[in-house]
Subunit: 378 residues, 2 copies
Amino acid sequence: MAHSIGVIGGGQLARMMVPPAVHLGFDLRVLAEAEGTSARLAATAVGDHHDARAVLDFARDVDVVTFDHEHVPQEVLRALVEAGVAVHPSPGALAVAQDKIVMRERLTALGLPVPQWAAVHDSAELGAFLEGHGGRAVVKTPRGGYDGKGVRVVRAADEADDWFAVVAEHGADAVLLVEELVEFRRELSQLVARRPSGEIAAWPLVETVQRDGVCAEVTAPAPGASDALVREAEAIARSVAEQLEVTGVLAVELFETADGRLLINELAMRPHNTGHWTIDGAVTSQFEQHLRAVLDLPLGETTAHRPWSVMVNVLGGPSEGTMGERLAALMADQPGAKVHDYGKDPRPGRKVGHVTTTGDDLDDVTARARAAVRFFEG
Amino acid sequence: MAHSIGVIGGGQLARMMVPPAVHLGFDLRVLAEAEGTSARLAATAVGDHHDARAVLDFARDVDVVTFDHEHVPQEVLRALVEAGVAVHPSPGALAVAQDKIVMRERLTALGLPVPQWAAVHDSAELGAFLEGHGGRAVVKTPRGGYDGKGVRVVRAADEADDWFAVVAEHGADAVLLVEELVEFRRELSQLVARRPSGEIAAWPLVETVQRDGVCAEVTAPAPGASDALVREAEAIARSVAEQLEVTGVLAVELFETADGRLLINELAMRPHNTGHWTIDGAVTSQFEQHLRAVLDLPLGETTAHRPWSVMVNVLGGPSEGTMGERLAALMADQPGAKVHDYGKDPRPGRKVGHVTTTGDDLDDVTARARAAVRFFEG
């Protein structure tokens, strides 16, 4: 019998698990939200991940269940575990990734470096936090945010009233997360993978550039990072993975502050946009590693093939026609570019693909990746 | 509309086209011989490739038809072309790969270097050839041979009588190919890809080691090859591709003779075992390149990631259980090994997978690939 993995969610992360599953001889099955999702090739069922019965039916005969996203409700996750299904990452670990206030509480309790934060229930509490932090702060909805959604910079106590109204509809626990607006030099991301038996593997620390709250570009390794910084980032990510008992890939998004400290911005417990470069740039990609980790197989080497890798997202995609129609021109211009088309309809701001380039000279590698992606714009 | 490719045949070559199709957003469809073939994930039809109706039905709405093997009869290929289907490589090019006597005739006419050969109709003609070539020769069935099947070293005129009897059953054209037994220093393989509009890309020349007529190990690049040898091999392969108008990947298997000449041993017009290392070892794999080429898209960079890549085949597979059951031990021992499991049942001598390693030190890279494959033996 082949190792079998059930993935809940049919987005591009599930899609990009298909190639390593094909190579390693794994049986990958996807529970997709709808027909025609990005991971349609491996979709063996269509169903709602809020529906415990649909998820249990899907999970019945796989070795392990894992995820394309972090939106499966805890009660569904718990039902899987009670039914004897191996679930990685576990519901307990996922709970921390699903709620930003729970995450801040846990990280704070573990002594890990996070921005100053508070859970606020109304504009008065938000006003008090603003007063203590120079009149500026970041407000986040604890749940459901992604790619810049549910994140807002505020400069006055009433600038989150609409969100307070929305969370109030969800009952007594009407609360928002507020954080200091960190003055950062740049954003970094440390990816690691951990398997249930405890082994951890780390990829090189990378620099990420966000635009409108969405990952736009990743450079691996992070240029000019000191050995001390690299060690600290890896130590933080290892500590999160171990102490929260994360299984599979864990992405720790970090701020490098103006005064040289690292602060944890976000966590993701799945393959992550800041690790897409590993498909073409590292001996073991984050997608292969995630499958190995959740199956509790030994982890693969994370060395980069070349000194530099740059990944640029295709955000939105062509205003007319498809990415496929632009391929010929791109390939003629950039024969070394590795193109990834998620098979999704173009839509402003939507992540519809990415391009990775590798090589010895960072300026050249960056220029080639950017040039390639421009063929998908306009 | 996504680019769509129909592949006739559901073996491991079709299977290994799936990952690049997923990444590039191509719609890959496979016409498989049976349920449960190696390429089952992409199989959209099951049918006999000798059945023109089944093949035409399959080919109706794809952009191009290509192949997992070279066994589709010419009349079926011609029916596709007459129906307006784009077929790459073309029937005319494939005819040369399908019949070893046709191949020898064409290569000889083009002035390309081949072993001395003859088409022989009976043991008397074979005896005459043996007499002129030191009493030893290689006899090959013109059609249907692969992986050492249909190839025999003979030392007496009557040692091919059984084969003459078999080919005689197939009618008037009862003929065998006989060739001089080349004293070679080693075997090499030059892979190139050519697209219909003429562009050609070449990968580094590789050394191959055959065991019982089956590819066992490939080293890229060929150790110690002089610049002149590398240039000559590439020139030969480019010449074959251009003059036979091959489209897609072309493998030219070569003998490097004891006196330093190159002679063409075999041709294959599809991704080839001697190019499997490119999946993990080169910027563009032979499988991605084949899809690009048959779609007439610009070809990708063929540079190797690291100084050395070694590919070792898994021949036969475990005597008990599955490759999957051996993975944990292999991965613990060889974290840098890239494992490819074709999802086929183990059987003595059968190609059921391969392992590739890459790195800076050839001895180390070779030792790691061999060590990994040993986990699938016994």
